[in-house]
Amino acid sequence: MNRWIREWSVVGVLALLLAYLAWRAPAFFQLQPLLSLLAREAPSLVVACGVAMVIIVRQIDISVGSQFSVCSVIAGLLAAAGWPLAAVVPVAVLIGGSLGLVNGLLVAWLGLPSIVVTLATLVALRQCLNLVRQGEFVNLPERIQWLGLSQSQGQWLLVGGAVGLVAVLAWGLRHLAAGRWLYAVGSDAEAARLAGIRPRAVTLGTFVLMGALTGIAAMMNVVQSPQVQPLTGSGLELKAIAAAVVGGVAISGGRGTVWGVLAGLLLLACISPAMVHLHIDAYWEKAIQGLIILAAVMVEGLRRRRNHAR
């Protein structure tokens, strides 16, 4: 319990929010809109888990938003050019992976600080896309949408897929030696090296995995609508980092779980629709969102303060 205080406090705040909604706006809990909401958040969840892993190894990736856009647009163009879905998905994952590889090489091998590297790739990729697409949408063929399934099948598949992915990642991080390496490297890279772990390889691998997850997430997003906006995913990095840190991933590395990220993301994702349901004017939204983020982590802070005093 003590170790998971942050996770629980986030779940607690989320539960409070949901309970309030159940009281004041029960219409929030309708199956179809809720399913749509979750499906729309599925890509963010996948990205946030990737970002969480990067943070666990004591790095950061703020280029995910741009990576996401690049994967989406390229996947969209390929699909529009008539490629079958079975080919588009692996290509998207591959592109994401190689973008991650670039970041990873610069960070792990050249030893540049990851915030600088990914800041650079964030700006560079985004502006490349602007230069090439000039903001123009990519129109997709009909068959891509919902992976060729019906809409509700597709949505269930996406939500299930994302949760499944989280479960797999959670399991891997907890029960695979390689997963534990992430924590070891994030906790103390030099100690990890002395223990026979290769911190550079672990860091590189994490960035590549992050990229691949972004590719998957981009596909999860692309199949949800018949058009791709090149601007898609802008601001995603902030959302993903927010979900991760609110969900208890320590920015100093070595600590955190993807289940916490799931809770953090759900909390963040619920705020905006909750505002709509509670008929709160939109200009209050950012202020309330800020307060909720602070509230969710304040529980931990207050508790730590009390512990300290004791």
Binding site: V117, V123, W284, A287
Partner: protein
């Protein structure tokens, strides 16, 4: 079996030729980049137009424009430098700029307060907002990233709520607009303010024990406590100063544009952080210089503004995009070169 008696080398002997050490300093490298940028734009970005007037990058006006346009971001970068040196971060400065701008607008327009009073109160609001960050970080011991992520939303949200998103304050008296649009002693007025802040922060960081304390906290927060440094006090000072500087930037911004609106300074934090890290400050704290930050700001500002004067770029309508691309490239190149220089410096030491 012993070959030679080993004495510890005399102090300074291992340092190698000092000029070489100096040349390989990161700041010097950045200065070089800046000079090259400037010369390139001067050469390619200056022309004589049909009316026979010299226009483009090489004009004094242009240089002043660069100065005026980079003042606010420069101020935020200066505000962030001490914070980042302590190993923290303040994502909320851009939002705070927006909040302070509308607060100032509200105070002068809605409440009709005299300008100096309103300006002073705005600075107080900045200090209080910085104090809120500091309080959450120090008292509740929460990570700065999360706290300022929260206040990043909160401050912008308050600015929007305050103006219901739509109110724009304008019609400021000319006396106030001088601050952002006028000149004094040949330089834009805000450049003097910027200079004053830069010098103060430089003195604080490089010449006082408080600045040293920021560094120590950045390197080892626990170690700082064990050395008897008032960690909370120093952190509070850094965040409050960041708030006040952001408020000052808000005043300048308002004056420059002649309007105060809730979207003021949107996204500025990212530019400011970029400038700081380009300036060689370590995001993990401890390492960094104010000079580096200033050079970082200048390098980005000159790049961005200079590109817009190149005829090729203008015809392509791609100044914005190219500036982004090149900033990214510059960041990577500078940092990689910094690493290389460090290695060279070490090897020169080995001799």
């Amino acid at each position: 079996m012993r070959a030679e008696p080993a004495h510890p080398p005399a102090p300074g002997a291992a340092a190698g030729p000092s000029w070489r050490r100096w040349l390989l300093r990161y700041e010097v490298l950045l200065l070089l980049v800046l000079v090259v940028e400037w010369l390139l734009f001067y050469h390619f970005g200056t022309s004589v137009n049909r009316r026979g007037v010299t226009v483009g990058f090489g004009t004094l006006d242009r240089q002043f424009d660069i100065l005026r346009h980079s003042c606010e971001i420069g101020l935020l970068a200066l505000a962030l430098t001490p914070v980042i040196l302590t190993g923290g971060i303040d994502l909320s400065v851009g939002s705070l700029l927006g909040l302070c701008a509308v607060v100032f607008g509200g105070l002068t327009h809605a409440l009709g307060l005299p300008l100096p009073v309103a300006a002073a109160l705005t600075l107080v609001v900045g200090a209080v907002a910085g104090g809120l960050n500091a309080g959450l970080i120090c008292q509740l011991r929460l990570p700065p990233l999360i706290v300022t992520l929260g206040t990043y939303s909160l401050f912008r949200g308050l600015a929007e709520a305050f103006t219901r998103g739509s109110v724009t304050y304008s019609d400021f008296p000319a006396g106030f607009l001088v601050l952002g649009q006028g000149r004094w002693g040949g330089l834009p007025v805000q450049a003097w303010l910027f200079l004053a802040v830069a010098v103060s922060v430089w003195i604080w960081i490089h010449r006082t024990v408080a600045g040293r304390a920021c560094r120590v906290i950045g390197f080892a927060p626990e170690g700082a406590r064990f050395a008897g440094i008032g960690v909370r006090g120093q952190l509070t000072a850094a965040y409050v100063a960041a708030g006040v500087i952001a408020a000052l930037a808000a005043l300048i911004y308002t004056s420059r544009l002649g309007q105060a609106k809730a979207d003021a300074g949107l996204g500025y934090e990212l530019f400011a952080i970029t400038a700081v890290v380009l300036g060689g400050t370590s995001i993990f704290g401890g390492r960094g210089t104010v000079t580096g930050t200033l050079l970082g700001v200048a390098a980005i500002a000159v790049l961005k503004n200079g590109l817009a004067t190149l005829p090729v770029v203008m015809r392509l309508n791609a100044a914005e995009e190219l500036a982004g691309l090149l900033t990214g490239a510059l960041l990577l190149a500078a940092l990689a070169a910094g690493k290389l220089a460090e290695r060279l410096r070490l090897s020169s030491v080995t001799g």
